[in-house]
């Protein structure tokens, strides 16, 4: 059974069919890429998967569970976490608190426990801090955990967003252009990190990316979108060799 299975997904905005007959199957532990020219509908697919938009048609299954049409918070609880193309951190919270916010649903305590500092509060908060610091260590952010998230340099902000998404303990991680705005060196270390996250956490990762080096370097499978439709799909090497894909990217 695939971790993520999408069948005939579609949505229209007014007269525009933004995504049409979209099919996708990602196996557990797979690193999968979603590519396509600007405006092809990649981020729209992410927004459909995470409940930001409700699809007009189609089915989304996560680990066999039908999550079509659910609200964003329920999809997060079901196990999909994401990052954003334009970074969306909690700027005025500390780096540590950004990650702890990600653990919100997995580490509850009674509402008044935080006011009266009950043992349950202490135990849960300590547990969260410990876990969060461990996670930050993976992303080389442990030394920065007291800083405000908005004060981090760009590359670290991207990493923190991934750390926060992982803090929700997801089954599937969606990365929306993780390498956007990074120089080749940063991209290289990001690739290593994404691979590491997959191996270390056994994570299934679906990512949108423009950087072909990154895509061909780490993705095991690829889907190419063009004008909201699937242009090609399959194993990375063969998809990138597909003449239709080359045409879509480079023109005639």
């Amino acid at each position: 059974m695939p971790m993520l299975e999408v069948k005939n997904l579609g949505i229209s905005f007014g007269g525009l069919r933004a995504v049409n007959e979209f099919n996708l199957s990602v196996e557990k532990g797979q690193l999968y890429g979603l590519i396509g020219p600007n405006g092809a509908g990649k981020t729209t697919v992410f927004n459909l998967l995470t409940g930001v938009y409700q699809p007009d048609s189609g089915v989304i299954r996560l680990d066999g569970e039908d999550i079509t049409g659910r609200k964003t918070i329920d999809i997060s609880k079901a196990g999909i976490a994401r990052t954003f193309q334009n970074i969306r951190l909690f700027g005025k919270l500390s780096v540590l608190d950004n990650v702890k916010a990600g653990m919100h649903n997995k580490h509850p305590y009674p509402p008044l426990a935080g006011i009266f500092h009950t043992p349950a509060w202490k135990r849960t908060e300590d547990e969260m801090t410990e876990k969060a610091l461990k996670l930050l260590e993976v992303f080389d952010l442990k030394d920065d955990h007291e800083y405000l998230a908005s004060n981090l340099p760009y590359g670290k902000q991207r990493k923190l967003e991934i750390a926060r998404a992982l803090a929700t303990d997801p089954k599937l991680l969606l990365l929306d252009e993780p390498a956007a705005g990074m120089n080749p060196q940063e991209t290289k270390s990001l690739m290593d990190m994404i691979r590491f996250v997959r191996d270390e956490f056994g994570m299934t990762i679906l990512l949108i990316e423009h950087d072909m080096k990154l895509v061909s370097g780490i993705c095991e499978g690829l889907t190419v979108l063009n004008f909201g439709e699937v242009l090609a799909q399959g194993e990375t090497g063969s998809v990138l060799a597909n003449p239709a894909v080359i045409t879509a990217y480079l023109g005639e």
């Binding site: 995470t50 930001v52 964003t72 918070i73 997060s76 609880k77 976490a81 994401r82 954003f84 969306r88 951190l89 909690f90 700027g91 005025k92 919270l93 608190d97 950004n98 702890k100 916010a101 990600g102 919100h104 649903n105 580490h107 509850p108 305590y109 509402p111 426990a113 935080g114 006011i115 009266f116 500092h117 509060w121 849960t124 908060e125 007291e146 926060r164 998404a165 803090a167 929700t168």
Partner: protein, 360 residues
Amino acid sequence: MFKNKTARQNAITYGIILAAMAVMLPMQMGGHLSSSLSGLLVPFCYYAILAVSLNLTVGILGELSLGHAGFMCVGAFTSAFFTKFTADIIANSYVRFFLGLLIGIAFSALIGFLIGIPVLRLKGDYLAIVTLAFGEIIKNLVNVLYIGKDSRGVHFSMKDSISLHLEPEGTVIVAGPQGITGIDRTSSFLIGGILLLAAVFIVLRLIQSRDGRAIMSIRDNRIAAESIGINVTKYKLLAFTVSAALAGMGGVLYAHNLATLTATSKNFGFNMSVMILVYVVLGGIGNIRGSVIAPVVLNLLLDYVLRKLQMLGSNPVLQFMSDNRMLIYAIVLIVIMIMTWSPKMIARREALFNRGRKEE
């Protein structure tokens, strides 16, 4: 001594309040304070409580509310109604005050919750405008409310006190625009100080809890908060309700500091809401300690010091300032906003700060 920076910062905040109480209480009891300063002590407390509670909405939740005085009004009237209603049932005025306090807080929390449901669907300016409207509605509703009691029970009218059809020995408790008269003046600086400590305690602890983190994450980025599974509606309502409840607490303290409680635009209207907002902005948006200090400083300057100066000799400038307090507040607000938020000032401040650092 403290585990981390926040614990130390919080201890300083509590310390300031406790120190103020430790100095002023014995002086007040020993009669060493002038009556004008002594009379300002309870207002310091309720203004600070109101500023702290509004800061929860403005600074922590990140939504501008212009109807905060409305919640204060609910707390003031429900508690004053209760303490007057039970005057011949419960003998001890402090027990009555305490029960009235709980009722005032509960009612303002309830009203805050109910108003929050429609209001929190809006954002930014629209939210501010609607809270303003609700604040005015509460004040005006109280002004047409008549409640009386006699041997047959409680009577209620929205027209006038005659329509209550009370028996001759019955009493009117709430008399529309005349409000509630003959309230016990139970509020004291000791009670005010304790309530202020409680308000600060609740807000600070809330901010550092899981719930507070959720509230602030919504403030910083609603879409990201949703994406990690935070229930935006729930936490917005939570913050708004707690904020209203604490404003109600300030209202209870306010009501029991007066013999007669009326709802005018001066005490529960737009002016009051804006004044509380000025305290919040002056003390720093999101800065709880600032919200404790700012109302004290402003009131001390514009009330006490001004009056003292006027006593020394009549001066047209001083006269103008004391006659136009709201104008002064407005100017202070504008200056503070420009000083803190205009890009040029930020650049200048940073330049100054960096130069200082290099010299070290």
